[in-house]
Amino acid sequence: MSNKMHIKLNVNGKDEEFLAEPRELLIYTLRERLNITGPHIGCETSHCGACTVTIDGKSVKSCTMFVAQASGKAVTTIEGIGGPDALHPLQEAFKEHHGLQCGYCTPGMITRATKLLEEIPNPTEEEIRFGMAGNICRCTGYQNIVKSIQAAATEMNAAKEAAE
């Protein structure tokens, strides 16, 4: 069946328009159509969070959203969070505190953490563990991920204070 739809997306600030089958999953749109390969596929049943992106201010598992559903929305991936010229404090903190090993979960993990810190700027360890529970990491045992997010929060809060 070829019933392609006209899809409009804004991805990391850039407008994209194309024809796609509605059953195309957003994760494949990003990875294969738009060559945005930061978000990964881990479980395909919305348990692991490797595919996490931000859509309209919400952390979303992009393996469980059809591109048709996403049409008209703004999507942010790890690529839109920080790059070589300006890393996000979370990216810096994950490097500094060994918050990653194989790197496969990392884009989803950091993308989710940006939202967590927007919602809870100064989270406790328990709040971090609960707020990150939609993202599975097989390598780190999470201890250094928690540490990285705490460090980024401290850094971001200090920067905010300095700016005020």
Binding site: G42, C48, A50, C102, Y104, F130
Partner: protein, 809 residues
Amino acid sequence: MKDEVDTREDRVANLKGMGCSRKRVEDARFTQGKGNYVDDIKLDGMLFGDFVRSPYAHARITSINTEAALKVPGVLAVLTAADLEPLGLHWMPTLAGDKQMVLADGKVLFQGQEVAFVVAEDRYAAADGIELVEVEYEELPVIVDPFEALQSDVVLREDLVGEDGSIPAGAHGPRKHHNHIFTWEAGDKAPTEEVIANAEVVAEESMYYHRTHPCPLETCGCVASMDKVNGKLTLWGTFQAPHAIRTVVSLISGIEEHNIRVISPDIGGGFGNKVGAYPGYVCSVVASIVTGKPVKWIEDRMDNLMTTAFARDYHMTGKISATKEGKITGLHCHVTADHGGFDACADPTKFPAGFMNICTGSYDIPTAFLEVDGVYTNKAPGGVSYRCSFRVTEAVYFIERMIEVLAIKLNMDAAELRRINFIKKEQFPYTAALGWEYDSGDYHTAWEKALTTVDYEGLRAEQAQRVEDFKAGKTRKLMGIGLSFFTEIVGAGPVKNCDILGLGMFDSCEIRIHPTGSAIARLGTISQGQGHATTFAQILASEIGLSADSITIEEGDTDTAPYGLGTYGSRSTPVAGAATAMAGRKIRAKAQMIAAYLLEVHDNDVEFDVDRFVVKGAPEKFKTMKEIAFAAYNQAIPGLEPGLEAVSYYDPPNMTYPFGAYVCVMDIDVDTGVPEIRRFYALDDCGTRINPMIIEGQVHGGLTEALAVALGQEIAYDDMGNVKTGTLMDFFLPTAWEVPNYETDFTVTPSPHHPIGAKGVGESPHVGGVPCFSNAVQDAFRPFGNTHTNMPHDHWRIWRTANELGLHD
């Protein structure tokens, strides 16, 4: 010049060599989403292949009709065994000396088995095509229990039975039954039986180490691209052993090895899942040859859990004997090993049960005997080492449980029982009853440090009080203290003992120093998150005196890297790390000659100092390694070839034997079966420590995988051979919420035979962690009469233990 004002400490710090917590060089790309994993590869005209899989665990295939599938727009081909047979590729050799169907050849032996390979222009067409391949099955009796398999008239592998019904020997000797694969023995049977028969105390236990799966977050996959113009095949994939894959592909395809390039890009975790050769690789290669286009195959999560690389599935029976005082005198172990439908275990050729014969553990046991029977069943093939050296997790679990069971029999504290049986420091190198020569160890020191740090006596007092409170009805929570002391055997290995498919298990490093004093080093290993690009550069920095930041480490491209056997079984540091140091020393030897020439002294009159050669007794006269590198390329030196390069192929003289002492404190809700980990202390001795930050990260990760296996992670089958745990809803991967914080600690007992004394660490926490978590659960119930209960200790099984002990009345 800056060097002249730097102190020696500054110069050491600038090197970022061994012993410092150097930040990882890999992380810049991973944190920015710029890793390059196999599914990120996109080539012009690339096709997608995917499998039609068997819904049945045991069935004859009476027909396969591909007509409807071929009519799906975008579907280009559907391969079946009949298509592969003329090429001789419908079966392939396994790493264990057996053979395995690439595509079902007349029958299927496990649920999820590959039946046909649909090749299409995109993954959507492939998925639609799969739905339309019509396969007719005739169901056969299913056997999922290895004990039943050894009694049954049902022949699982008809290809391994003679026409007259005879049972020819297998790759590992005679077979006792048509569903039997091998019997493997180690140690002395009669003396062990005699010691146990005459012992003062004997403890016996049977335990099942359940089937599980490494389940890295990235599944297995590959992209095969046959360039018909140049006759070259390039194969990208999630390979933990890219060179071995190249050789295997060459042997089975007939393509000359120089025309095959295997590339392991970034790998999203391996844990043993990515050691084996899978039908998807073969089918992708064939499909690329047939279509002339690149073909990608990526497992989905269900495929991954159901078909590639299970781990464990050992039924173990033990007898351990001791004096009344607790001195162990003998150990007997029998294993019935469920290998599934094909024997595809990833073990060195001579070790069909891996290094299970390390099962005497950390103890001075004078007499021991091990016998392992491998058995076919209607379950998926595999038998990989999931975050451990070959079958070492099983071995350590076995002995650490037997110690606990013996302690119960002796009515003795299990920490004390371990203490009086440890191999003593002065006994190393120690030859164990089952044959291994332990290179080094200081178990008592590690044990005392662990017990003191956690206040072991205090914990036992608290536990005793808790039992009183429980009996008095003041609490419904019990407290368990889990102990484990493990000795790993890693770094396979000496070529005299260890090969896979005849490939000796050495490893390699090749270094090129650039004229301006930076370098590239290539190795036969491949990182899957361990941070090789960071740590191998640290080893080299210390050896050759150039900053780690000036050294690029490259792995995984067989066209450029020297031949090596890859990364698994904690072998990278023990083997390739040694090769790196040895290659570095070759560089340094030549540098010494160059330095002496430049300084106009005899070779023996200069000595290495951090980042330079200095004239002995005149430290102000020196040449830095950077200066030496430049001279190596740009100055004619009599008697020396230009350039500064070296290669080392390292065949280790022995394995390395990391060890550790772990303690877990757990509270258990008797009414719901819910365990809560209150404390976990892990002391690891991995010899010389290259990067403490990375070691700690490896320990956290290995412990978390141990927690998962001990407390719920399993591949479970029903009686019909259906996999009950095919998604991450049911296959337990803990989230941050279920995982505790860990306390890490260490002692340092360098390996005496390793060039830098390092032993490997990535797998120790898993090996030691599983029995520690399990022992904590079991220890909580010890005061109520529990001796042993099988893993996984999920809620209902813990509850069942409490129930059987009458704690719910």
